[in-house]
Amino acid sequence: MINSVFRFGLIFILLILAQILLFNNIQFSGYINPYIYLLFILLLPFEIPSWLLLLLSFLTGLIVDFFSGSPGMHSSATVLAGFVRPYVLRVMSPRDGYETGAEPSMASYGFNWFLTYALFIVFIHHTALFFIEVLRFTDFFRTVLRIILSSIFSITFILLIEFYRKGKK
């Protein structure tokens, strides 16, 4: 228990640092901002109580918000992601359910499963985030384009990190 708290704490810090120091500075042509800190919300264990999941999601968003100077924007999107995560997991559960003690990572359930899972969450999160950012429906398709392109990049980077983690194991 203590061990896993420590481990997730480490993952959390590393992801947030990477997001703030590296990925927040990536802006290809104004359309693409990868948000890899979502991986933290993706990786939390299956058994986590949903209130804790929501709180951690909020905290993640809040910290990213503070460092990118956009209070409330990331928090509302990450809370939404944390809220839908249990439903997404339920829809995607294998025939005999999830193993106890496993975590929703690529190492445990394979590339295809993880890709679909990440796609769902990242797309929902990015949709919320970019629409909250502009807060209007004019230029609708421009926003949608930003959502799609950024989602692709976020997922690419998330998959790369997962490949690296899997390789290390």
């Binding site: 929501l54 918000d65 209070p71 809370v79």
Partner: protein, 273 residues
């Protein structure tokens, strides 16, 4: 109580979710200028739309009164035309140079927001810069003084109501021309106070009070109200209570008056101050 607890237990996720989203939304609306402006705009749009609807209904219901006041105003205008024409013909040859002669321009507007119960009351009218309204124009309700424009946007203007403790007006007794300073004491929306009238002047209840035109905002001779009470207050001056001609509780159509020669007058006055 028990069912409440089961309800909470059942939907605790949703409740936590909503609370956290609420906090995030609050941060979003207060922390970012852009989002703040969007939210405020949306709320304002809603409120203004509603207000406009209410006003429309009220306009319709008040048509009878409005007609009456328009008719009365017509009579007054006709009388003044009569007077002007007579003066014109009596001594001099009349020259019709409209640019030279016209000093004041009028515009009508509708009051869409008004208050009378604060110490500093303002009202909003539905015309602004685009319709030629500018700051420091006078506002009357057609007969009596109502206020002064203090701020304009493209299509709306805010006027400081006469019922504002910061409002000051130069007014005089119509019967003998002694002038004093008029302001509102913040108590009754039908009463104002005229001060600085010396005690040797003859004042009686019912005397008409009108504007002097000294301030270059209000034209001369607009009715303010009638004397309802006066008392000698220490010093050398009267404290005259006036019952206002304008009923601020049903202020609706107003007449905005701009002085075209105001800058000229003020510049001249500045030279000698």
């Amino acid at each position: 109580m028990r069912s409440l607890l089961t309800f909470l237990a059942r939907y605790n996720n949703l409740i936590i979710f909503l609370i956290l989203e609420g906090i995030a939304g609050y941060l979003l609306a207060t922390g970012n200028n852009y989002h703040n402006a969007r939210v405020v705009n949306a709320i304002n749009g809603l409120v203004n739309g509603l207000e406009e609807k209410i006003i429309n209904t009220r306009t319709y219901l008040n048509l009878r009164d409005i007609n009456k006041s328009l008719a009365a105003e017509n009579v007054a205008l006709r009388n003044s035309i009569e007077r002007l024409v007579k003066n014109e013909n009596s001594l001099f040859v009349s020259v019709s140079d409209s640019v030279f002669r016209q000093q004041y321009i009028h515009a009508t507007a509708e009051v869409i927001d008004n208050s009378i119960n604060r110490q500093k009351n303002f009202f909003t009218i539905n015309k602004g810069l685009n319709q030629g309204i500018a700051v420091n124009m006078a506002v009357t309700d057609g007969l009596g003084v109502a206020g002064v424009i203090v701020g304009c946007t493209e299509n709306f203007s805010i006027a400081m109501s006469m019922l504002n403790i910061d409002f000051k007006l130069s007014a005089r007794l119509k019967s003998n021309g002694y002038f004093g300073s008029l302001n509102w004491d913040g108590r009754d929306h039908r009463k104002a106070v005229l001060s600085e009238i010396p005690q040797h002047v003859f004042v009686s209840i019912g005397d008409t009070i009108e504007t002097t035109g000294y301030s270059a905002i209000f034209p001369e001779g607009i009715i303010v109200g009638t004397v309802s009470d006066f008392e000698k207050r220490g010093g050398d001056f009267y404290k005259i209570t006036i019952s206002l001609a304008t009923d601020f509780k049903k202020l609706h159509f107003v007449d905005v008056i701009g002085n075209m020669k105001k800058t000229e007058q003020l510049e001249l006055e500045k030279l000698f101050k």
